[in-house]
């Protein structure tokens, strides 16, 4: 403890405070120099015990190996850091048991707020936090009645549909992702509605649910290619699924774009550098993370915040256009 060094007692605490109110400038300097000298670090945990705030924000994600979530988490961490908070992240694998135990662990650390990135239909995390009075925000996936920062997925699906319709595609397939995640649901819904409105409703056999990773895309894509009349275009609700679908198209001996066009979602960095660059619906992942922190901070200080829908943009590339 730096104090015992040779300075006075707990006046040091004040001297090290951000404002250092009620302490002479001279003392402040002396204390700070000594602290630096001795390599003193105030114990955030102990301080939190007294103040009641851990200055810790918990982040729940399905998996960090999903680049999309990793990107969002990165921006959350940066934004939280700028506001003086640290973050803890937990993989829940879209599984109720994991979610429970990870959330429990966070609450045991007296987390100040939670950002939920893995919201799932019928999942109770948001409700539980609401009941406990712990501030929280949903990001990426939404849930009726809870504050959320997401992209306008319905509209994103529609953009993809309009793009393909414009290129003349009439028999199309959708790889829809997890049936209980709002992202998959809304993107699919927006896409189907647009085709319906244009007079080309999509048969249910052409809409296949899947995991959100490459593996899931490969499996679902293979299924689509095995249909008696395979689609001339596929909409994958995220880029990794699209990557898997690419594999399926190749395995089926078809050529990308010429035989089967492909649209992904999120526009991750590597979409543009692939051997055949991927057409994708771009969402501002970093912005989403930043806004979610901002909303959470507002909630934490008692003021209210509004849900946000970020507008998506379609980026046409070689998997759909020459």
């Amino acid at each position: 403890m730096a104090r015992h060094a040779q300075v006075h007692i707990s006046t040091a605490s004040r001297a090290l405070g951000d404002d250092a109110a009620g302490v002479s400038a001279e003392t402040v300097q002396r204390v700070r120099e000594l602290a630096a000298m001795l390599g003193y670090r105030r114990d955030v945990g102990a301080a939190g015990l007294r103040t009641g705030s851990s200055r810790l924000i918990g982040v729940l994600v399905p998996r960090l190996t999903d680049i999309v979530l990793a990107t969002i988490y990165e921006s959350i961490d940066v934004a939280a850091g700028a506001a003086g908070y640290s973050t803890v992240v937990a993989n829940t694998l879209d599984d109720a048991t994991h979610r429970r135990s990870r959330l429990d662990a966070m609450l045991s650390r007296r987390i100040d707020g939670v950002i939920i990135g893995d919201s799932h239909l019928g999942d109770t995390a948001a409700f539980e936090l609401q009941k406990l009075g712990v501030p929280y925000v949903l990001v990426m996936r939404k849930l009726e009645g809870h504050l959320s920062i997401t992209t306008d997925d319905h509209r994103g699906g529609r953009l993809a549909a309009e793009h393909l319709l414009g290129l003349g595609h009439r028999r199309v397939g959708v790889i829809a992702g997890d049936l209980l995640a709002s992202t998959g649901i809304e993107r699919t819904e927006g896409f189907r509605r647009a085709f319906e409105a244009a007079g080309y409703p999509i048969d249910d056999r052409y809409v296949i649910s899947s995991g959100f990773d490459t593996r899931g895309g490969l499996a679902a894509g293979t299924q689509l290619m095995k249909l008696a009349e395979p689609p001339t275009a596929i909409f994958a609700v995220n880029d990794f699924i699209a990557l898997g679908a690419m594999g399926a198209i190749r395995d089926a001996g078809r050529k990308l774009r010429e035989d089967v066009a492909l649209v992904g979602y999120n526009d991750i960095d590597l979409a543009a550098t692939l051997p055949v660059p991927l057409t994708s619906v771009r969402s501002e992942l970093g912005e989403m993370g930043r806004l979610s922190v901002q909303a959470l901070l507002q909630r934490m200080e008692g003021s209210s915040a509004e849900s946000v829908l970020l507008p998506p943009v379609l980026v046409p590339r070689a998997t759909t256009v020459g």
Copy 2:
């Protein structure tokens, strides 16, 4: 505090302990039931204040958006969780300033141990922890004189070289990644040595350093393709770099494998499902994470641990063989 509920005082602490020694079975049950009823959670922070252990392991990585690191972190988190520890992860962006501040923040939380995944030549984190007496382990990248769990990168580079030599390639390029990371250095070194030994030393103009991401691979690949006599094969020290190189090869109007063969490193999931599946040197990322936790735990309990070199394996795919 659950204790005031109607039970006795701090005997509750003992009753809630893992062993519950020195408490009657009856009391234990009563306390536990009541705790569950009241939704009581022991405050890990407060407990840590007393016990001196935060049961927290810090993990330093360059970036989580690098799937390789995200995969390692996931397995670290699982292994740590199994041993009763939580983890905190921090992006350091391979930048000294970030490293300092993130490590500081961790030390302020009285971290029990650190896993360093972003070791960099001339970086001081490992030395500092050593001086402070905080247990630590390096993972993925090594540093002379410090405990580390890595793959045998030198050998991995040699495997890639032997594969290409066997296919008849004589004029090859290397995209070497960061010059200060042991991974890039050793993989490149192993590769060059093997070509040298075979009688085809690689000219320095054919070895280009880069960032570890797709963007870096694209830039370096473009540079290689602009050489008067472009290489007939490229070794990229990781898969993302290879992905970028694919883009560069395409942009140069060359065909993958036929004109330019390509070998990546790490064999991430999507390497196999790409439109043109990528030949890659496989490393056991999950195993690496697990072993690093094991080694760290050993260090934390005072016993010593040995550095590990995991053996890599080359997985041939369409970017090199028909």
